[in-house]
């Protein structure tokens, strides 16, 4: 397995896109931090990068990569290797490259401008989101044979998680504005890794506002040790489950 991961990573690194992504993140984060006069606004910009760009690049790049690796996968499948090993290697290679790109691109600026708990939390969340969206991409890619369709689905999934889901939640909030929906909202947020990630960062960033109103309910849940543990577990689950389903599918897939 290590060997295949090695070849996948070598192949991805040879791909210019991942280098461009790293450079893009690096330039973006540096400019955000140096243009804004206070670091907190820089963090806000970084939050948008983490919540929008990281998932988008992770899911689209991974989907395309899996399709483009069809030959490679075919070659490997005819060799004495377990399919699970091949797929897991692909996943590990992809996610570790995305994580590496993110850590270099966003981590260096954060450690220069914001080396505190909020910054570390953001990096941690960014890493988790990279892995989660690689996992979702692998599931999308294994489910559809057609490349164009697969990429389309990947983009739609991104749109769903970053926009449509929240629109739906907003709709729910207004529909049920006469009811105490705070606890339900906590549960609903578990169904979108981006929401969960965002709330966990907000707890570090907008702690004053979250303490008021319903914020207190959220804080009481997400802010406690158990809530934090649960949130991280759910995020981990978000990265494990899609991979697990995709392995099951890949194991019986005809090449």
């Amino acid at each position: 397995m290590k060997k295949i991961i090695k070849y996948v990573i070598i192949d991805i690194l040879r791909n210019k896109i991942i280098l461009a992504y790293t450079a893009f993140l690096l330039v973006l984060s540096f400019s955000i931090f140096s243009l804004e006069d206070n670091a907190a606004k820089g963090l806000l910009g970084l939050l948008n990068i983490i919540l929008i760009i990281v998932p988008l690049v992770s899911i689209v790049f991974s989907t395309i990569y899996v399709y483009n690796s069809a030959e490679f996968i075919e070659l490997l499948v005819s060799q004495p290797l377990k399919r699970r090993t091949i797929w897991m290697s692909l996943f590990s290679g992809l996610s570790s490259s995305m994580v590496l790109a993110f850590l270099v691109g966003a981590g260096i600026p954060v450690f220069i401008y914001q080396p505190d708990i909020t910054g570390v939390m953001m990096l941690l969340i960014g890493v988790l989101l990279s892995v989660i969206f690689v996992a979702i991409a692998m599931l999308a890619a294994v489910k559809t044979r057609d490349k164009a369709k697969g990429i389309g689905i990947a983009v739609l999934l991104w749109l769903y998680f970053s926009l449509l889901f929240d629109g739906f939640v907003l709709f729910l909030v207004f529909q049920f504005s006469d009811y105490p929906v705070e606890k339900m909202m906590v549960v609903v947020s578990m169904f979108n890794p981006l929401d969960l990630a965002r709330i966990m960062i907000l707890l570090k960033m907008d702690v004053s506002a979250l303490m008021g109103y319903t914020g207190a309910v959220f804080k009481d849940f997400f802010g406690t040790g158990i809530g934090m543990l649960l949130s991280f577990s759910v995020l981990l689950l978000w990265s494990i489950l899609p991979v697990w389903f995709s392995i099951r599918k890949f194991n019986t897939k005809d090449l």
Binding site: K3, N15, L76, S78, Q79, P80, L81, D254
Partner: protein, 236 residues
């Protein structure tokens, strides 16, 4: 060595394999023949585990391939069109394959074809820059590289120049003499004359017949394989 028992595989409405059963033994060199879309490649891919059959089972060396993956270390496979990671060089591909299959450290490598095809001089070329013929050479070299007991060659000479084609044929004959099982599909039947000992003829995913070449010639009254098969097709 290979036993296929009632193997069926359906792609959408197309029945690629329909209750297909066959037995292949060591030391045989078998030609897998049939019209386009008769299920030859599907059968090969089933043996390799690239296609998972809907029903029936295939055993290789007595192991059901469904639950096993190590049996593939005894197989050398040359695909119809060799597709490789585009960004890698030939050297890297060879190295990677050795890396992956080198689990038995004392494995003796058969670099015969690498030398005869003069691949060593091309090691730094990227896969995407290669012509179809060169790719075929790489595929062939890789199939023989690990000295497998079972060789599966899907259209081995397609795209090869006559010289290379001859080299490959010689190599196949050499390996046959070593007592390996060799499975070949080809449309150029004249090439198979000197090679094969048996013929499996498929049509619409079904086995039409599985005969030794002598038997076939006797039945059809022809001396050449090509003519014999043409006769069969006519009769059908």
């Amino acid at each position: 060595m290979i036993i296929a028992n009632n193997v069926s595989k359906q792609f959408g409405s197309l029945k690629a394999l329909n209750n297909f059963s066959v037995t292949c033994n060591k030391g045989e060199c078998i030609a897998l023949i049939g019209p386009n879309g008769s299920g030859k490649t599907t059968f090969i891919k089933t043996i390799l585990g690239m296609v998972v059959c809907d029903s029936g089972f295939v055993t290789v060396n007595g192991f059901n391939i469904k639950n096993d993956w190590q049996y593939r270390s005894n197989i050398g496979y040359m695909p119809q069109t060799g597709r490789y990671p585009e960004n890698m060089t030939i050297g890297q591909v060879l190295e990677m394959m050795q890396d992956i299959r080198g689990q038995k450290n004392n494995l003796e490598l058969d670099e015969d074809l690498i030398e005869r095809f003069e691949i060593k001089s091309l090691l730094n070329k990227r896969m995407r820059t290669l012509s179809g013929g060169t790719r075929q050479k790489i595929s062939a070299a890789l199939a023989f590289l690990f000295n497998p007991e079972l060789l599966i060659l899907d259209e081995p000479t397609a795209g090869l120049d006559p010289l290379s084609s001859e080299i490959l044929k010689e190599k196949i004959i050499e390996e046959k003499k070593k007592g390996k099982l060799i499975l070949i599909t080809s449309h150029i039947l004249s090439e198979l004359d000197d090679l094969v000992t048996q013929v499996i003829y498929m049509q619409d995913g079904c086995l039409c017949f599985h005969k030794t070449i002598e038997q076939l010639k006797e039945d059809t009254g022809q001396t050449k394989l090509a003519k014999a098969i043409a006769q069969v097709m006519l009769n059908n």
